[in-house]
């Protein structure tokens, strides 16, 4: 699942819960409203942790510079959960009035709007960027998408700064006199942490965007290691590539098939084919153990019984009715008792040019 969708879903739930929750909340629950908000905040914290881990996993290899931001995000999220858990477990003092409630409510609403915005941005980046929807990670997205996605990120930045300001000013101006100072401070810490978190989030997004789309920008960290493909993407490509280069190195296979044969006479073709045959046969014998499927001769009669493995036989000609089938062996088939391909250690990017055999230069 795309992280963009996940963010969208979670932030939508939070936003709906915060805005509609107050209106739709049953009478019996109004008393427990503080606990409800605390739970929402805990959910938000959990979301941040999840998001941070996802980001960390994605960026660890490609952009080590960003990992520390993601790690900070995880820590902050965890901190938030801990704080809120404390509130959830400890009953809130009855002195907390409606003013304080609404203040917290506004802050959280702003928070969720930001997350919504951020999620929209991410969705845009991951899904709608042309060419980025199949097997490309964000790094391969074309630069055309850059100008479209810079805006939401800037918006996120502005929003979070605004929110920080709101929280600070609200807490100063609207703190009721009867509230104990300790609780006040506690709440501010929570909300300030959230705001800081968002700020970091936005910073990460901006950094990342510069790195990916601005490309040549000197301020960003250069992308060193090739991007690792995900499990489905490019699986086995490396092994195929390695095998192909083995066939070329040992048996000149690519040289053989890439040249136009028509201009050469049979003697020349024969001489070349000996090279290919000797080399490729050695490679095949090393990594496979090939034997005919059908032990007998070609041209002899064969009966295929009902229980025969369909993978072993391909029926051609007039195939009607039910087994047993009677026929003549046209080709005896091949099977391999061993599959021991050499393993390819570094990830292969199937969209980039991959080297089968390098240019050979004799240094004199």
């Amino acid at each position: 699942m795309h992280t963009g969708y996940m963010r969208l879903a979670i932030s939508a739930i939070i936003a709906v819960a915060l805005t509609a929750g107050r209106l739709l909340m049953p009478e019996s629950l109004i008393d427990d409203y503080a606990g409800y908000v605390a739970m929402t905040l805990a959910g938000l914290g959990a979301y941040m942790v999840v998001e941070g881990i996802l980001m960390l996993r994605r960026t660890a290899v490609q952009r080590p510079g960003e990992s520390k931001w993601s790690a900070t995000r995880i820590l902050l999220g965890a901190f938030l959960i801990l704080l809120i858990a404390g509130v959830g477990i400890l009953p809130l003092p009855p002195e907390i009035g409606s003013v304080a409630e609404s203040y917290r409510w506004i802050a959280l609403a702003v928070l969720s709007v930001y997350v919504l915005c951020e999620a929209l941005m991410a969705r845009h980046r991951f899904v709608e960027a042309p060419g980025a929807d199949t097997n490309q990670s964000a790094g391969q997205a074309p630069r055309a998408a850059a100008s479209q996605t810079v805006k939401p990120i800037k918006r996120g930045l502005v929003l979070s700064v605004l929110m920080l300001f709101l929280i600070v000013s609200y807490s100063k101006a609207m703190t009721p006199d009867f509230l104990p100072a300790g609780l006040e401070a506690y709440r501010d810490v929570v909300l300030a942490a959230v705001a800081l978190l968002i700020l970091i989030d936005a910073l990460v997004a901006v950094r990342k965007q510069r790195g990916e789309y601005a490309g040549s920008s000197e301020t960003t960290q250069p992308i060193k290691a090739p991007r690792p493909p995900s499990i489905q993407e490019g699986a086995g490509y490396g092994e195929v590539l390695a095998f192909l280069s083995l066939l070329q190195e040992k048996g000149r296979f690519i040289d053989f098939v890439m040249e136009d044969v028509t201009t050469f006479n049979d003697t020349q073709v024969a001489a070349a084919s000996r090279v290919v045959h000797q080399g490729c046969a050695a490679v095949i014998r090393e990594y496979f153990e090939i034997a005919p499927v059908h032990g007998g001769k070609e041209g002899e009669k064969l009966t295929i019984d009902k229980g025969a493995d369909p993978d072993h036989y391909r029926l051609v000609g007039k195939v009607t009715g039910a087994p047993p089938f009677h026929g003549v062996v046209l080709h005896r088939g091949w099977k391999t008792a061993k599959l021991a391909l050499p393993r390819y250690a570094t990830p292969v990017d199937p969209s980039a040019p991959n080297i089968i055999t390098p240019v050979e230069v004799e240094v004199r």
Partner: protein, 621 residues
């Protein structure tokens, strides 16, 4: 102990096998190695070559192994392929260098004659790296077997050529220790091949147990010809004393010299012949085409020697360029030509009295050295058997053990009655037959020398070593009685007045007799040395493979002529504070350790202080 492990550190290929002590027979392990940049895979053999890559020659981490994420030096299959194209950066035949007394074996001299300015390795270090790679592969295999990689559960037997002298054995042992293998037990390679045959006959569970294939009085020649070296050993079969569990006893009675001649020389000989043939047909080939030609020659040799029905094999040689059709040269290798070059060239029908010319310094060059001087294995074999006869003559006890048949006959050789072949060269039946034929003609007209059928010739040494370890640990199975393959001597300067232009003869005293078993030690009474404290003292050190009759304390006149001089020995006594330049009376205590190395100690007569003598590895000028 749960496992016995056999390690064959070969000159061109290495191999490891494991034997489970709770029953079961030795099996080789797969050795993970680099097959190309970013490509790794497993093979049962590890090519004993090391390629020193240039900085940035390959991408970062593309030569990584599971246990070695970043290394500029590659060992194994890829090193050999890459090194063929850049020979200046390829370390090869480190093992042959390890037993070359003319170089300092701790000095970074490999690749030999390379113009590399830094990064060169010493023969010792190269061997250590191969062993380290094998250790890692072994640990992987142990994890796959039992989940843990504890070498403490393993008895490790490391094979060395029978021709290795004490210095080379000690260096190999030390390299294994520094590679993290611990205190390995050393075993001679031809003996290991013999054990592999015993293990094979037990594993097959055939009616014919190995002891029914040989009988008391037999003399088995183990003929081991690998890629780059040849190693001969004689094992005598004798009747055991009554009451023992085994009816037969096995004694290793002679080992050969280090001969740098093997299958690779044959491939090169064929390739040179084909090159001349092509040049006569009007095609000159360059160095790169020659490399392809060597590969093609090897493949052609294997087919021609194994299949008598093939009259000739077409050989095609491509250029290095991509154009395969326009530039591939072709020629044919006829059966007659190959037979003449390989069979008659390397295994000619020679007389028993035809020996190779005097021994020359070995190892200073690679290919071409022995090839140029004496390619005939038959002559090397004749020399070996002649020296073995000489050795037996010197010792009545040994002569009695052997039985009469082996020592009788007109020829001045010990007469083997059976041959065990080992090494890739002897896959070809025609070569085995030729060796048997030549031996038969030497033994007596019409007599035959039988062949003992060995097991998988590339891996037999490692398998046999694991079998030997298992037999040692469990007490089951038979042990070849061997002991030290040579006798060792220490030189004594004769007190003579100095005469200009005359070098006084060197007398030597036998300190370790041939055939001394592992785990023995003795004091050399009757020879007392005065050691000057505070400065290193050097002794001349000699050995001989043909003086089985010498006992401890036997004095040999003219040692520098009758014995082989090995590396000298040094000992340094810490200075005594009160009296500088004090002369301390000491006696010599030789020890043959349990793992098969030799230690020499100087013991103070009047206290229990002692000092170990070290081999001086600097070349002797």
């Amino acid at each position: 102990m749960k496992y016995s492990v056999g390690i064959d550190l070969g000159t061109s290929n290495s191999c490891v096998s494991i034997c489970d002590l709770d029953g079961g027979y030795p099996a080789t392990i797969n050795i993970t190695q680099v097959l190309g940049p970013s490509v790794i895979g497993e093979k049962p053999l590890l090519a004993s070559v090391l390629y020193l890559s240039i900085e940035n020659e390959f991408g970062r981490g593309t030569l990584a192994l599971p246990w070695n994420p970043d290394d500029a030096a590659v060992i194994g299959a890829f090193a050999r392929e890459r090194g063929a194209l850049a020979p200046d950066r390829l370390v090869s035949s480190a093992k042959s260098w390890l037993c070359n007394p003319q170089v300092d074996r701790h000095a970074p001299i490999l690749p030999w004659k390379s113009e590399l300015e830094e990064g060169k390795l010493s023969p010792f270090e190269a061997s250590r790296r191969y062993l380290e790679h094998l250790r890692q592969a072994l640990e992987q295999a142990l994890v796959a077997r039992s989940g843990t990689a504890s070498l403490g559960d393993c008895m490790i037997v490391l094979t060395v050529p029978a021709s290795f002298d004490e210095v080379a054995r000690e260096l190999t042992h030390q390299a294994a220790r520094e590679a993290g293998l611990g205190n390995v037990t050393l075993l001679e390679e031809p003996q290991a091949a013999f054990y592999a045959w015993i293990a094979g006959s037990e594993a097959r569970q055939t009616v014919e147990h190995w002891s029914s294939e040989v009988r008391a009085g037999d003399l088995v020649l183990v003929c081991d010809v690998g890629g780059g070296t040849a190693d001969f050993t004689l094992i005598a079969v004798a009747a055991a004393e009554a009451g023992l569990s085994q009816a037969l006893e096995l004694h290793r009675i002679a080992v050969g010299e280090h001969i740098l001649l093997g299958g690779d020389n044959m491939d090169l000989a064929l390739a040179y012949a084909l090159k001349d043939q092509m040049s006569a047909e009007g095609h000159e080939i360059d160095h790169w085409q020659f490399l392809s030609l060597v590969h093609a020659a090897r493949a052609a040799k294997e087919r021609l020697l194994s299949d008598a029905a093939i009259a000739e094999i077409p050989i095609a040689v491509p250029t290095r360029g991509a154009s395969l059709f326009a530039n591939t040269l072709s020629t044919t290798l006829s059966r007659a030509r190959a037979m003449a070059l390989i069979v008659d060239g390397y295994f000619p029908r020679t007389e028993v009295t035809e020996l190779p010319k005097a021994r020359k310094s070995v190892g200073l060059q690679e290919f071409g050295l022995d090839y140029a001087t004496e390619p005939a294995f038959s002559k090397h074999l004749a020399r070996f058997l002649t020296r073995a006869r000489e050795n037996v003559r010197s010792d009545p006890a040994l002569a009695q053990l052997l039985g009469d048949w082996a020592q009788s006959g007109d020829a001045p050789i010990l007469r083997p009655s059976a041959v065990l072949f080992n090494g890739g060269v002897f896959h070809a039946e025609v070569l085995r037959e030729r060796v048997l034929e030549v031996l038969g003609s030497w033994v007596e007209p019409g007599a035959s020398v039988k062949e003992i059928k060995g097991v998988g010739r590339d891996t037999a040494v490692a398998l046999g070593a694991a079998y030997y370890g298992a037999a040692q640990l469990t007490g089951r199975g038979i042990k070849i009685r061997a002991g030290t393959s040579r006798s060792y001597y220490i030189g004594l300067e004769s007190p003579m007045p100095a005469v200009p232009g005359y070098t006084p003869p060197v007398k030597a005293i036998c300190i370790v007799p041939q055939g001394s078993e592992e785990g023995t030690e003795w004091d050399l009474t009757g020879a007392e040395f005065g050691l000057v404290t505070g400065e290193p003292v050097e002794f001349r050190f000699f050995s001989s493979a043909v003086r089985a009759g010498d006992r401890i304390g036997t004095k040999v006149e003219n040692a520098d002529k009758t014995l082989d001089e090995t590396s000298s020995l040094t000992v340094a006594l810490p200075p005594v504070v009160s009296e500088a330049q004090q002369v301390v009376p000491v006696t010599l205590r030789p020890i043959v350790t349990e793992v098969g190395t030799l230690e020499l100690w100087m013991c103070h007569r009047h206290s229990d202080r002692k000092w170990k003598l070290e081999f001086n590895l600097r070349p002797q000028k």
